[in-house]
Amino acid sequence: MNDSQPIEAATTSIQVPSGAPDAKTRRYDRQLRLWAASGQAALESARVLVFPATATATSILKNLVLPGLGHFTLMDDEIVTGADAGNNFFLDGFKSIGKFRAQEAVKGLMEMNDGVDGVADTRNIQEVLKSGAQWLKSFNVVIAHNVDSVILEDLAALLWPDTHLVVVNSAGFLAEFSIHYREHQVIESHAETSASLRIDQAFPALLEYTMSLPLETMDITDHAHIPYPVILVRALEEWRREREQAIGPSSGKGYPATSAEKKAFKERIRAMMRKFDEENFEEAEAQAFKCWTPTVIPLEVKELFDLYPPSSSTSSSPTAFAGLVSALSQFSQNNPASPQYPSGLLPITPTLPDMKSSTEEYVKLQKLYRAQSEKEKQVFREYLNKSLVDVDDATINLFLKNSHALKVLKGREWKESDPGPRELLTDKLTSCPKEAATHLALAALRKLKAKDKPDRESLKDLLTAEAQTFLPSGTELPEPEWPIASGEIARAPSADLPTTAAFLGGLVAQEVIKMITKQYIPISAGNAASSENDQLGVCVVDLVETWTGTL
């Protein structure tokens, strides 16, 4: 970056460092714009195990190899059949028939990105589980496609909770997957809601600046360039002062509440205009709702304060995230940097959205927010120091920037969600019959496969009988959803269709990338801090009607 260069030199000379990216950055440019260098680094240091080498498994891997996963192992002790050669793009057609499935598929996958370390493991998973199981825990994520419940049970018990287990099932046009983790913390949720500008609770420097402006007498051009937060803070403060005079001292922190008051407030803003076409005032009028939208701590963030109480962080050795949340909790109770409004606030955002304004006024306002943000960061730091966790400055900044959109998810242990608690399943059969029927049908198929090779003719009945065992006795399976789901599976019980495989390949890889980068929000069984709206944490796919749903 050459931003220290004087402007003359910068414009007349091309001797400046170009800043042009290197080959690797260019290769990954389109994804770096989503998860940035930090997400990329996480991806590049992750280790993933996938088994067996089905079309779905290699499709998932393809979407992890392309963006630059660190390492993958593909485990499979089987030999390529004609059926494999026909539906798996990463095998070399009939030339692969008779060779190890894992080895052939890894060759095809590795061609796509030489920055990835890929290994074919031709051992049997059950053998590995018997001897050398600890090695399985060296992976961050283990992905199993159409694996029967007996193997899954052993595997899940071994991996829980440190290695995430992803269970993927499909048959014909139907599919589902789930991720098994205890808790997943997300700082960078990439939420679309932006942080509050605290118009209703202006910090002292902003209030002071706002009230100091000679609105009536200042240069008319400058007047047309006052940013809308300044206009709103001013209008609200004047409104409050008038109200205090009229009603009494305790009324000085309110805001327009009735629709008549809101309408009058908007008119007040209009009346502040000195020319009819001042766009900044029009913008302020459009944003006036910010005055009567109190700045509060989002419920989901508040719930985290109970999840990581300050006391627990002093007793044992807290994780960085727990320490950060507990510092945030203390900050929200007492923030001396905002003496008028010392509690109920999250640290203020240092960045402003774009708004109608001159450069000068905009930068001035930005500096005020930044200075306040620095002050509050110091307060936050002091709380954090007491919690004895060691967090680098970059993480603190990231945490503060995203503090309004923090997310902590919970998952379920495999055992518990195979296929799920009876009451929850019964509920879901009523509230989401399509999704629940599909989920039950796939679970029933998995159970049947573990027992025996099911006979196709009677498969529909077998599936129904098996599904009943997951439910309280007497539970009725939904019509027409159950006959449809079980009928689809009976039609193609062992079909790993290329398009279903590709669809799942994208979905599962997407969720695994979210887990690994700790960015964006993966599927879950709910919020870790709340038992409301508990879910199974399963994503279901139907490619006849083409929908996805979560249970």
Binding site: S18, A23, D354, V363, A502, F503, I521, T550
Partner: protein, 426 residues
């Protein structure tokens, strides 16, 4: 070995797919001909066109080949860039600079035996109606709105009610970051691409006065460098956004302006992103959307199961959220509807202002239109003599040009359809 596999349909090749093709499912139409008939149609008769061999196109080609389509055509005018390699998985470093359509076709034919992929390295507009008539289905994986509007209108115009074969189902996919959509268009029967034009996000455009006078964001500084400074300094020399030296020049200028105005955040990468209007793109989203498109193609070609009616929208930012719905046909769609668009305007609006309105309206978005009434030309872009002759009309008021309730026909050279407007005055 290869001789023994003459038709390449080795034993078990279609083990997975044939489970679907050998028997109907609970949601299969009665007309489904399970067994050899449908297999023969899919593998020996169906001819499918793929438009775009990029992020979606690569995935689409691989899926179609594995699904059993054997006669595939692909059109793409682009060449391979290094930034494609994070998702366009049929391309390697050594292919950079080559035609996407040709490299992709060769890759598929090498990898999946017995498939014929015919590439065309060029524009969809190069091809005529007879070319499009030869296909049973068209799948689009495009990143351009203009190209989609063109192929959509072309396929709608192709429909001849006397000839059912002339109706070519169009399956369209699109992605942006973690979001995407797939849809099935049955030209003239279901909602078409043009019907849903107003669903597109409005592109961010910065007012020129912000760029020139009151920059606040790094993007404003970059626009200043590319929109104002480049032509001022370089005159007629065209800016090439694929040339890293040009981006570096813009970056340097933008960074200097940002420094002057105390604005932070101008980087090389942001500069490139703004001037090229880069849309983030990842392998996983492309895989989902392309799979969905090909799945619909497979179901439509084989009648083996009900197909998407008609729009699947995916948002993968928070969990897996998707929404499947029927997008409704618009009766005044300029492409597939019969009705004209009613436009109520002020009588003193000038023709030039009307043209601006047509360009900006989300549901119209016609660039550089020519306008006429059934009896006279209002404004024509070409030829130059007519442009000159009709130019004075631009500054006249609409009410002086046409009466209340009058009809105006709008055409644009880039689109194969015309829009008729019913003008009324307020």
């Amino acid at each position: 070995m290869a001789d023994a596999q003459e038709n390449h349909d080795w034993e078990g090749r279609y083990y997975h797919i044939d489970q679907i093709l050998d028997a109907p499912g609970p949601r299969t139409d009665e007309g489904f001909m399970a067994g050899e008939g449908v297999k023969d149609f899919l593998r020996n008769q169906a001819k499918i066109l793929v438009i775009g061999a990029g992020g979606l196109g690569c995935e689409i080609l691989a899926n179609l080949a594995l699904s059993g389509f054997k006669d595939i055509h692909v059109i793409d005018m682009d060449t391979i860039d290094i930034s494609n390699l994070n998702r366009q998985f049929l391309f390697r470093q050594k292919d950079v600079g080559k035609s996407k359509a040709i490299v992709a076709a060769e890759f598929i034919m090498n990898r999946v035996p017995g498939i014929k992929v015919t590439p065309y390295f060029g524009k969809i507009q190069d091809k005529d109606n007879d070319y499009y008539l030869q296909f049973n289905l068209v799948i689009c994986g495009l990143d351009s709105v203009e190209a989609r509007r063109w192929i959509n209108a072309t396929l709608v115009n192709l429909v001849d009610p006397e000839n059912p074969e002339s109706l070519k189902p169009l399956i369209d996919g699109g992605t942006e970051g973690f979001k995407g959509q797939a849809r099935v268009i049955l030209p003239t029967i279901t909602s078409c691409y043009e019907c849903s034009l107003d669903m597109l996000n409005k592109p961010t455009a910065f007012p020129i006065c912000t760029i020139a006078n009151t920059p606040r964001l790094p993007e404003h500084c970059i626009e200043w460098a590319s929109v104002l400074e480049w032509p001022r300094v370089h005159g007629d020399k065209k800016m090439d956004t694929d040339d890293p030296d040009h981006i570096t020049w813009l970056y340097t200028i933008a960074a200097a302006r940002a420094k002057e105005f105390n604005i932070e955040g101008v980087t090389w990468s942001l500069t490139q992103g703004v001037v090229k209007n880069i849309i983030p793109a990842i392998a996983s989203t492309n895989a989902i959307i392309a799979a969905s498109c090909c799945n619909e193609a497979f179901k439509i070609a084989t009648s083996s199961a009900a197909y998407l009616n008609n729009y699947f929208m995916l948002i993968g930012i928070e969990g897996v959220y998707s929404y499947t719905f029927e997008h409704e046909k618009k009766s005044n769609c300029p492409v597939c509807g019969g009705d004209s668009v009613s436009l109520s305007i002020k009588p003193d609006m000038t023709l030039e202002e009307l043209i601006d309105l047509l360009t900006e309206r989300q549901d119209i978005q016609i660039k550089n239109p020519s306008l006429s009434t059934p009896t006279k030309q209002l404004y024509l872009r070409a030829p130059p003599q007519l442009e000159e002759a009709t130019r004075p009309n631009l500054f006249k008021t609409m009410s002086s040009l046409i009466p209340d309730g009058g009809e105006v026909t709008v055409t644009a050279g880039t689109l194969p359809f015309s829009l008729s407007l019913d003008i009324s005055y307020t």
